[in-house]
Amino acid sequence: MVPNDQKLHTDVFDIGKVPYASLRDGLSEGLLELAEKDERVVVLSADVSESVKVAAFKDRYPERYIELGVAEQNMAGVAAGLANYGKIPYIAAYAAFSPGRNWEQIRTLIALSDLPVKIMGMHTGVSVGPDGATHQALEDITLMRVVPNMQIIVPCDKEEARKAVVAASTNGKPTYIRFTRPKVPHFTTTETPFRQSRAEYLWHSDSPQVAIIGVGPILHDALLAARELEREGIGTSVLNVHSIKPMDIEMVLEATRRAGRVVTVEEHQILGGVGGTIAEILAQNTPLPVEMVAVHDQFGQSGTAEELLDNYGLNIEGIMLACKRVLSR
């Protein structure tokens, strides 16, 4: 069941009733909230202010908004300069291009220099939909994980996205936050606890046999899968590891040792993402069987978000199957 302290939306399990919202709106709200509190906050975008929802900030604080045009490499460098001078820049563009195209600028100018630039990776995962593989970033977590000093947050819904945006402003570190495009279940609330680098149980059966560990909107599918498995007599826990770096290793070990078997879930490449991170932690501490729900070393393609998530097995059935597979090992 859902731990009481999580204060999830009361209709979390009712697909017809749970509200839907895009994580992008969490960015928009978070930035407006921050702008009022801290005048060092500035926003940069690369000709995508409407689609990544920084237009409200741009309209209200034009003197603190910088339009770069289609120039993601320059955007990373300009942000590094602004941070060097004392600002807290948020740069927002499609993740395929930032941190895709400007990875080296992020590595050298932001991470090696340890500057508090906040990189908003928008339009990630196959759920970007009809735009196809070129615009569906599936490698971004890996790209950012391997860079020292970088912190990473992957929110699961609009509310957690807002909290992540706000939290990043005070950590003093280069930070990557990952967003998806479509409207997805808005199942956490303002009261749901969120602390950067601390994992939270979204679900905990009395005696979990599988620890489901993941990030992003697919965690809602994980919750529905957990409830279904419980009905079938299989206890699980669902751990939201929104802070991929630094990771809450203690909680990961607690959840996995208790269950003994592990399933990781993410809308991302299988190589080096959440599954890879958890596997590294387990291999170094408590080797345990792991199944990974992820995109298996393939590119995305055009389609609706739903068609694509189903095609790559990033859904309730995929998660249930992985749990059963890991139990049979």
Binding site: V42, E63, R64, I66, L68, G69, A71, Q73, N74, A76, G77, V78, A79, A80, G81, L82, A83, N84, Y85, G86, K87, P89, E104, Q105, T108, L109, L112, S113, D114
Partner: protein, 278 residues
Amino acid sequence: MSFLSETDVAHLEHHARVIRREVITMLGKAKSGHTAGPLGLADIFAAFYFHILKHDPKNPEWEERDRLILSNGHVAPVRYAAMALAGYFDVDELQTLRQFGSRLQGHPERLHLPGVETTSGPLGEGLSQAVGIALGVRMDIANNHTYCVMSDGEQQCGAVWEAAMLAGKERLANLTAVIDRNSIQISGGTEEVMPVEPLGEKYEAFGWNSILVDGNDVEMFCDAVERARMESEKPTVIIAHTVSGKGVSDIEGDYMWHGRVPNEREVEAWLQELGDEK
């Protein structure tokens, strides 16, 4: 900053010679690094650290300071030498260049040595940062000026032009770029490897003001900076023609010396040619 007297010019030329001596000695000791660029830039760095910059060597983080961003980080020895001579740190520390544990990294890093402003080395990235700093300064309605020294070879990097386009659009008059136009890069002359000309016209087309000078003439260079500072509508690029390896007749203008360092015998001969300035 003011116009230079004859004594001022002699003073700066003296500093440039001392910088060259330090560069040669430190590169000889380090046994790796770049020689041609730092020697060619000695006059410009003498001008910056001993005349142009508003700075405080004892307080490198002073908020009112001008920012000097070095984009082509491989010429770091000339900056390190100028900083040490200006009083940022002890001149003896120059001998630790490129050694394990040294603050003087092979390419400069802001977290290692206060005063270098940015981490640099990968080419084509300094101007973006300089534009970011200049935008931040303008947001705060402050008066600090931002300078960015680049190489001519790195004008081949696309990101330089992304940054140039933004500076032009934003009319960043508080930004002055300096291009070390020594016409060489690792594998040959710039115009053979990948032509960058017409450089001045390119920047002008991007909304900049451009000034062409002899970068080994401190008086002419300081005068150009003075003119750039008087500009109130646009950023300025100073295209400073320099002779790579300047001061050492055997290597002047020879691209083979871009990434080579002198051996002991060469160090001795070169120092002798430069004359005793200690």
